[in-house]
Symmetry: D3
Amino acid sequence: MSQPTISRFPVPELGDLPDDIREKILAVQEKSGFVPNVFLTLAHRPDEFRAFFAYHDALMEKDGGLTKAEREMIVVATSGANSCLYCVVAHGAILRIRAKNPRLADQLATNHRKAEITPRQRAMLDFALKVALNSAAVEDADLEALRAAGFSDQDAWDIGAIAAFFALSNRLANLASMRPNDEFYLLGRLPKG
Amino acid sequence: MSQPTISRFPVPELGDLPDDIREKILAVQEKSGFVPNVFLTLAHRPDEFRAFFAYHDALMEKDGGLTKAEREMIVVATSGANSCLYCVVAHGAILRIRAKNPRLADQLATNHRKAEITPRQRAMLDFALKVALNSAAVEDADLEALRAAGFSDQDAWDIGAIAAFFALSNRLANLASMRPNDEFYLLGRLPKG
Amino acid sequence: MSQPTISRFPVPELGDLPDDIREKILAVQEKSGFVPNVFLTLAHRPDEFRAFFAYHDALMEKDGGLTKAEREMIVVATSGANSCLYCVVAHGAILRIRAKNPRLADQLATNHRKAEITPRQRAMLDFALKVALNSAAVEDADLEALRAAGFSDQDAWDIGAIAAFFALSNRLANLASMRPNDEFYLLGRLPKG
Amino acid sequence: MSQPTISRFPVPELGDLPDDIREKILAVQEKSGFVPNVFLTLAHRPDEFRAFFAYHDALMEKDGGLTKAEREMIVVATSGANSCLYCVVAHGAILRIRAKNPRLADQLATNHRKAEITPRQRAMLDFALKVALNSAAVEDADLEALRAAGFSDQDAWDIGAIAAFFALSNRLANLASMRPNDEFYLLGRLPKG
Amino acid sequence: MSQPTISRFPVPELGDLPDDIREKILAVQEKSGFVPNVFLTLAHRPDEFRAFFAYHDALMEKDGGLTKAEREMIVVATSGANSCLYCVVAHGAILRIRAKNPRLADQLATNHRKAEITPRQRAMLDFALKVALNSAAVEDADLEALRAAGFSDQDAWDIGAIAAFFALSNRLANLASMRPNDEFYLLGRLPKG
Amino acid sequence: MSQPTISRFPVPELGDLPDDIREKILAVQEKSGFVPNVFLTLAHRPDEFRAFFAYHDALMEKDGGLTKAEREMIVVATSGANSCLYCVVAHGAILRIRAKNPRLADQLATNHRKAEITPRQRAMLDFALKVALNSAAVEDADLEALRAAGFSDQDAWDIGAIAAFFALSNRLANLASMRPNDEFYLLGRLPKG
């Protein structure tokens, strides 16, 4: 069976995009060697595209507190819980690279209880999954549990906000039936990544 | 019992905020007569604040396609399904004003099947709720159902993207235990709104 | 869109009703200024009508133990969990009046964890929601938790029995697609109620 | 292991009960040969007892429309879905006797799709289970399906109201941890019932 | 209504079966007085039949550790949770005989919290139901709880493996719509069994 | 963090195993280059080990009807739905090799609606997932849908029986917290497999 298109919605030509968006896409291509489909599939809505990536970068490229690998752990675990193929595959690749562990993404996407993580990271993911799946039930005691595991309240916001942002991202990917690039499936699985 | 604080996380003083954020908040206050708590509770993270409201405005203040009242219907119905008090109360007020119907918000927050809406709006909300609650199961047939109800594919993106954005927003509000301003509860309920 | 009828089932004329039922309805109208639709929509079954209101009054008009406002809190929280529009709107109005709090009903109907209630009332509502949503799992430990919060066993029965009675009431209202009277939406929201 | 008590709540002595309740209980004992525990466990609340049995009899002892066996089928199927031991065992006995089928109750309590029933009864139970488990989603189309299966709107009310009444009854039994009388387990299982 | 066939799939004639399978079936008939339908409905796949009963007997006929009645308790409780009519009725009969208690099977199939069992058996069934319904969430703490209730790790494997094996068995019975033999319904209910 | 042990339960030495089991394990090692942990973690129960692999091979190594790749598709999709890490990783590897598609396993484990499969395979997996997750609701119409997609009734049994067998297998793996061998993660992902 041939592969599906990369989105149910229109995918603009690069030449038709506003300059800032085209330049961002070309910069990603320069760095990664290919253009992740999320950039192409969101580009038909320039204002939403800009807000999406500004939000993403504010949460995921932030220094201090959680490591960048830990931020990706949250993405992969919650995206697995939301059955979002694009995010599991694309962020699974990023996680493998950042954590230098070729098994971790498959573990977190399937069952975070079985993953090669520390007890502190387990507490982080338990909270993230509660925000992702049942945020109405979050209570002060959940924040206390994070503090007991060594997280600051700023960390707690990061954990919850990443889970919340990917609640948006997973839904957009499922709305568009966004196809992961073939490149992602293998990234970070070989000894040299 | 006294009311809880407006957030579990720090709420900055207006004077401590970056100029653009303080100005946005003052402009809202000027227009509405009070500052909705979402502006204050997100302000501790300026970059996330900017991205959040840029995204919000791109989806909610857009002209054409769905009416502004219909956009708020999606917010209230999906926020009710997510048990998000802040969004139900704050956007319920906006919906009552925009739809000029003092009953509609309570209906949609409780059970959209009982609301005073058209069959076309019912189709809109059925789709929005599927994106909100079970986006992994969205299929081409759901898009077909929207087309059969008279929606363009651009409308379909709007419906799905609003549901997705408030999946984020509801989770942030539940994370912070964001308290709705008292003013919202009554807005739009009296004949002159 | 025009409003739906008040019931999917026949609504008798007052003149066609048995005397005791007509008199009860007229007495309610005299006291409230209008006839809540639940009286009209259940009247087509006189024996069930009599049993329903006898049961209702035995639980809701009882003195001692729980306050009348607390009894209505149980109704609003469990009816919200059951997505019953009639009960949320009608009993929300009664709760606002009895608790002298114009915000409480909207809070409880959406997420009782965010409501302006005491810890004792929170324990009361946790138990009521368990009876409403998962009564098969009620165990002695749940009764112990009520006692620890200061409730007598007679109070515990009241809490559980009110949740149980509105499990019936919510289902009847959803069966009939019972429409709340317009009057209820605003009652108890203004300073003088 | 010895058997548990028949209720978590007080069980009055017959001699301490109001006359009408004691007489009703003695009449049941005369007819059945034993007193079903539901009469004893509800007797500590005389007004609720009276309303409960008045409601029960109005729905279950009614002539015309659904047969009495069909009414019990609804009770057993919905009580099974609610994991209510008392109602499954006690009404299972009554169903076996009324339907003259020693297998039907066990079938309906476990999985109504496997029961020895007609397609019309299957439609009846599908509707009853929707009222029992997800009444907020009942729509006009569900009523249409009943009509297509040959039910009048008065039958539809009966089906829905019985499911609603046992939503109450199941919750009371689970609240009290009401123990079924030993006699019920075997009733109606032998050729002569 | 006449009874359904015993399976949706082909049921071979005894004479057409491999010798070992026919002999096993005749031996069961000799011992029980009838052939339980599970033997007939699985016989169309001889290799699967042999593996199924070898696995069954290894878990259910084992000596030591759990009693044989306790093994059947696990079957009945998990089969009730899976709404498997064949297993509830057939193993309910076996349980009544092995436990010498005519009520226990109906209790466990409906709600194990209400059954006449010891606290140790309650811990056993809580674990079995977790394996049956949500095995992904089993954690070391669940094993600790079993040890605290007096079970060895070999017992823990037995409990979990029986729940796992009947996860298979329940699904096969539901796949085939396997009909329980009439004989099972009454077995073990009379004083002399 | 170091990796967890391969099982919560005892793992025998090869030299302590019955001959037939040791020989089977050595044969697998010879063929695969390593011993999949499922062989080691089930070996502490020889009779169950023999029955498990006899059943497995009867369903998975069968010729005709479903292809071997299709059989593995069922395993991966249902194991993903059951959050079983061992089966997702180990059978994901086998599926990649048998289907000669390095992406298919990740797709099926996350969301079978997004996988590179034919409509016929989609029907196969819809049925398998219903057997895995809600077998009590399987009805004749589900079998009809398989026939409409071109499957024979023997195929239908295979699909359902594989889903049922891995309901067992997933639960055993979750019971033991069985760890997938590192080798599986990469198998079948490179051009030459």
